[in-house]
C-alpha cells in the first residue's frame, strides 16, 4: 500500500517537475527569440526608413523591401502607419492605401476571422490606419456574428461611420443600449457631417442616450445649423436634455433667448442651475447679474463656484465680487468671492 503511494507521489513529482521545467525553458527560449526579433525589427526599421519614404514619394514599388520575410513585412507596415499619421499629403495617403490594398487585404481578412480577440482587434486597427474602406463587407459580417464583443462592435461602428456606410444609423439604433456614452460619442464624432444630419433628422426616434450624444456633438463642433434643435430642447421637460443643451450653448456661444432661461435659476436640479450660470457668464447677459450674485449663496458648492467664475466674466465683475466680500452676510458667498478674486489677480485659469 505504502509502496504504491510512494510510487504515485514520485510520478506526480516527476510530472510536475516536467511541467515546471517546460515552463522555464519556454520562457527563456521565448525571451531569447523575442529579444532577437526586436533587435532585428529595430535594425530593419532603421535600414528601410528611407526606402519606404522614397516609395511613398515616388510610388516606385521596387523600393519596397518585401520579399517573403515576415519581419520585413512587419517593419514595412509599422513604418507605413508611422508615416500615415504624420504625412497628410493626398498622394502619399493614396499610395499607403494602394499598398494596403495590394499587400494587406488577404492578411487582414484572415485576421478578422481569427479565434483570438486581440488579433481581430489588431486587424480592425489596421483597417483604420490604412483606411481600407473596401473591406466593408467583412466589417458587416463580423458585426453580425454572435461572438463579436462590444469593443469590436464599437471599433467596427467607428470604421463604418468614417466610411460613411449606409447601415451605420440603423446599427447604432440597434446597439445603442449596449454601448457606453463615451463609445456612442466617439462613433457619432467619427460620422461624416452629412450622415450626422441624417441622424439629427431622426432625433425624436432615437434613444435618450443617443439624443444626448447628438447634442454633445452639436456643441462640440459648433454646428450652427442645428441651433434650432437646441432652442427646442432647453424648454423641454427632460432635465438631462436641458443640461446638455445649455452646455452646448456654453461651449458654442450661440445666442440664447434670454427670456427662455429665466426660470432655470430656481430649478430643483443643481446641474441646471450651474449650467445656466455658466451660459449667463459666457454670453454676458447683464440682466441676470443679480441672479448670479444670489447664486453665490447656493446650497450647492459647484453652483457657487460657477457663479463666481461667471461674475468675473463681466466688465465690472471684480467690482461686484469685491462688494460681496465687503457687504455679504453669507460666509459661503464671501469665501467664494475671495477665492475667485485671488485667482483673477494671479490671472490663473482654474
Amino acid at each position: 500500500m505504502i509502496e504504491i503511494s510512494l510510487v504515485l507521489l514520485l510520478i506526480l513529482i516527476a510530472v510536475m517537475f516536467f511541467i515546471l521545467m517546460s515552463l522555464f525553458f519556454y520562457l527563456i527560449v521565448k525571451k531569447y527569440f523575442n529579444n532577437r526579433t526586436t533587435r532585428k525589427l529595430n535594425d530593419y526599421k532603421e535600414k528601410y526608413q528611407l526606402a519606404i519614404f522614397q516609395y511613398l514619394q515616388t510610388g516606385e514599388e521596387e523600393l519596397l523591401p518585401l520579399a517573403h520575410d515576415q519581419e520585413k513585412f512587419k517593419v514595412v507596415i509599422e513604418l507605413m502607419i508611422d508615416y500615415s499619421t504624420i504625412l497628410d499629403d493626398s498622394y502619399i495617403q493614396e499610395r499607403i492605401s494602394s499598398f494596403a490594398k495590394q499587400y494587406l487585404t488577404t492578411y487582414v481578412k484572415e485576421e478578422l476571422r481569427k479565434k483570438r480577440w486581440s488579433l481581430r482587434m489588431n486587424a480592425l486597427y489596421l483597417i483604420e490606419d490604412f483606411h481600407m474602406d473596401y473591406l466593408d463587407e467583412s466589417l458587416h459580417e463580423l458585426f453580425n456574428k454572435k461572438r463579436t464583443t462590444v469593443s469590436e462592435k464599437v471599433q467596427i461602428l467607428k470604421l463604418l461611420a468614417k466610411f460613411n456606410d449606409h447601415k451605420i444609423i440603423e446599427y447604432m439604433k440597434y446597439v445603442s443600449d449596449e454601448l457606453s456614452d463615451f463609445s456612442l460619442l466617439s462613433i457619432i464624432m467619427s460620422m461624416e457631417e452629412e450622415k450626422f444630419d441624417e441622424l439629427t433628422a431622426e432625433f425624436d426616434g432615437l434613444s435618450m442616450r443617443l439624443q444626448y450624444m447628438v447634442v454633445e456633438r452639436i456643441g462640440e463642433q459648433q454646428l450652427f445649423k442645428h441651433q434650432h434643435l437646441l432652442e427646442k430642447l432647453i424648454i423641454q421637460e427632460d432635465d438631462e436634455l436641458r443640461i446638455r443643451s445649455l452646455k452646448a450653448y456654453a461651449t458654442t456661444g450661440f445666442p440664447i433667448d434670454a427670456k427662455a432661461i429665466i426660470g432655470f435659476f430656481n430649478s430643483e436640479s443643481w446641474q441646471v442651475r450651474m449650467m445656466v450660470t455658466k451660459v449667463v457668464g459666457i454670453q454676458r447677459l447683464d440682466e441676470y447679474k443679480g441672479q448670479l450674485i444670489e447664486l453665490l449663496s447656493d446650497k450647492e458648492y459647484l453652483v457657487r463656484a460657477e457663479a463666481a467664475k461667471s461674475i468675473l466674466r463681466f466688465k465690472d465683475g471684480i467690482e461686484l465680487l469685491t462688494r460681496v466680500t465687503e457687504e455679504s452676510k453669507d460666509l459661503f458667498a464671501k469665501d467664494m468671492a475671495i477665492e475667485w478674486l485671488e485667482k483673477e489677480r494671479e490671472s490663473y485659469s482654474y
Binding site: L9, E339, E342
Partner: protein, 450 residues
C-alpha cells in the same frame, strides 16, 4: 489544503484565459483616441505624504510627466516631522493661496493651502497629522474632479498608466466605480527625474522574492477576482475611485488597511443600493514602488497587512455568508477569511507538527521528503506561471537573465520565505488579538536615483 489548491488553481486558470485573450494586442492603438479625446474624465491625483522627504519629489516628477489630458495633483503633507514641506516649498516654488474647501468628509485641521507657481495644476495641503486615511479624505475634499487616484508618496508611475487605468471607467459609462492597476517593485531599477529608465532586478533575494510575490498576487489573484466583480483589494499604491461613491461610502476609515476597508465598504454600498457597479483590476498600468529590503521592515509590513485584513473582515462581518451581498458575501469574504487570513495559521500548525513528528519519530521520512518536494515544485509552478502571464501581458523584464534569476529564487521560496511570511502573518493575528494599533515605522531610502 485541497480547497486552497483548487481555489488558487481556478484563479490561475481564469487569469491564463483572460491574459491569453489579450496577448499581442496592439497596446498603443486603443489609447491614442483617449489621449486626444476631450471626453476623458479629468482626475485628481492625491499623494499623501508623511515624512517622505526622500522620495516625494521623484514621485511628483513622475506625475508631472504623465500622459493624460487633464489632471490636478494634490500633495497632502500630513504633519510630517521631517523636511517634506520645506523640500516641496523650495523645489515646487509654492505660494500660499485662499481656497474654499468643500468639506464633504471630516478631517483634521488644514493649516494652509499652497499652489506651485511653476506647475499650476499642483496643490499642496499642509495639515495636522491624522494618518493616511485622514490625509486622503482631506485631499478628496480639496479635489475638484469627479475621479481621484490615490498614490503612495514613494511610488513612480509609468507615463501612460492613467490612460490605461481610466479607460475602463470612461468606456463603461460610470459603471466602473473603482479601478486598480498593477504594482511592481522598483528596488534595483534605474529611475531618473522621476522616470523609470531601466528595469533591473535587485541583487537581494528578499527583494526578488517580493517581485515574484507581487507578480503572483496581481496577475493570478486579482485578474480572476476582478473578472467576477469579487475584488476586495484595490492597491493603496495605485487606484482610481469615483469621488461620488467614495464620499457616499464615508471616505477612508482610520484603520491599518484603509485601502481594503474602503473597497469592502464600496461593495457593500453597491449591494445595499442594488446598483449595477463594478470594481475592477487592470493588469497593464504599472506603478513602481519601494519594497522593504530587510527582514525587520518586511516583517513589520506583513504583520500590518495581516492586521489590516482582519480589521476589514471584522468590520464587515455582517457580509460573511450573507446572501443579500451576493458573491461578495458568499465567496469573497469567506475566501479572504478562510484562505488568506486563516491559511497561515493552518500552515504554521503543519510546520510545527512536522518538526515535532521528526523528533518523535511519528513520521515516514520518505513521505515527508516527497511531500516537501511536491510543495516546492507546486509553488514554483505557480511563480513561473505568473512570470509567464507577465510575459504574455506586459513583458517588463527585458533580459533572459531576469527570468533565470526569478526561476532560481522562486525554487528557494519554500525553504525560507514562505515559512517566514507565515510566521509574520500569524504574529499579525497575535498582535491583533493583543489589540495593537498603528502602522509601525518604515524607513525609506527612496526609489529615485536623483
Amino acid at each position: 489544503m485541497l480547497m486552497m489548491i483548487s481555489v488558487y488553481g481556478c484563479m490561475l486558470f481564469l487569469s491564463l484565459l483572460q491574459i491569453r485573450r489579450r496577448y499581442q494586442l496592439d497596446y498603443n492603438e486603443p489609447y491614442e483616441e483617449l489621449l486626444n479625446s476631450e471626453y476623458t474624465k479629468p482626475v485628481s491625483i492625491l499623494v499623501p505624504a508623511y515624512n517622505e522627504s526622500v522620495g516625494i519629489y521623484g514621485s511628483i516628477r513622475s506625475l508631472l510627466s504623465i500622459e493624460y489630458p487633464e489632471f490636478e495633483i494634490i500633495v497632502i503633507n500630513d504633519g510630517s516631522t521631517d523636511d517634506t514641506l520645506e523640500k516641496l516649498m523650495s523645489k515646487l516654488k509654492l505660494i500660499e493661496v485662499n481656497r474654499v474647501i468643500r468639506k464633504q468628509l471630516e478631517t483634521k485641521h488644514i493649516k494652509a493651502i499652497y499652489r506651485s507657481s511653476i506647475y499650476p495644476n499642483l496643490i499642496v495641503l499642509d495639515k495636522e497629522n491624522g494618518g493616511k486615511a485622514d490625509a486622503l479624505n482631506a485631499g478628496i475634499n480639496c479635489s475638484k474632479y469627479p475621479y481621484f487616484c490615490s498614490l503612495d508618496g514613494d511610488s513612480i508611475i509609468e507615463r501612460n498608466a492613467f490612460l490605461k487605468v481610466l479607460k475602463p471607467i470612461i468606456e463603461s459609462g460610470d459603471e466602473v466605480i473603482a479601478s486598480g492597476g498593477s504594482v511592481r517593485i522598483a528596488n534595483g531599477c534605474v529611475i531618473q527625474n522621476g522616470e523609470l529608465v531601466q528595469i533591473e532586478l535587485s541583487k537581494k533575494p528578499i527583494v526578488v522574492m517580493q517581485v515574484i510575490e507581487y507578480l503572483r498576487a496581481f496577475l493570478t489573484g486579482r485578474i480572476g477576482l476582478s473578472k467576477n466583480n469579487l475584488l476586495l483589494i484595490v492597491s493603496g499604491a495605485f487606484g482610481v475611485f469615483s469621488k461620488k461613491w467614495v464620499i457616499e461610502a464615508g471616505g477612508y476609515a482610520h484603520t491599518v488597511g484603509e485601502d481594503m476597508e474602503l473597497v469592502v465598504r464600496l461593495h457593500r454600498l453597491v449591494k445595499e443600493k442594488k446598483a449595477n457597479k463594478k470594481i475592477i483590476y487592470v493588469p497593464d498600468p504599472v506603478c513602481w514602488t519601494e519594497a522593504p529590503e530587510s527582514l525587520k521592515f518586511l516583517r513589520r509590513q506583513r504583520k500590518r497587512w495581516h492586521r489590516g485584513l482582519i480589521d476589514s473582515l471584522w468590520r464587515h462581518k455582517k457580509l460573511m455568508f450573507n446572501p443579500r451581498y451576493g458573491s461578495i458575501g458568499m465567496f469573497s469574504m469567506p475566501y479572504f477569511f478562510f484562505i488568506e487570513f486563516l491559511g497561515p495559521l493552518i500552515e504554521l500548525f503543519g510546520y510545527i507538527l512536522l518538526i515535532i513528528s521528526i523528533f518523535t519519530g511519528g513520521i515516514y521520512l520518505e513521505f515527508a521528503t516527497l511531500f516537501f518536494l511536491l510543495s516546492l515544485i507546486y509553488g514554483s509552478i505557480f511563480s513561473m506561471t505568473s512570470v509567464l502571464l507577465e510575459e504574455w501581458s506586459m513583458e517588463r523584464y527585458p533580459k533572459v537573465k531576469h527570468l533565470v534569476i526569478l526561476f532560481f529564487v522562486s525554487l528557494t521560496e519554500t525553504l525560507w520565505y514562505r515559512p517566514l511570511t507565515v510566521i509574520w502573518r500569524v504574529e499579525g493575528i497575535i498582535e491583533m488579538l493583543a489589540g495593537k494599533k498603528g502602522w509601525g515605522e518604515m524607513v525609506r531610502k527612496g526609489v529615485s536615483n536623483d
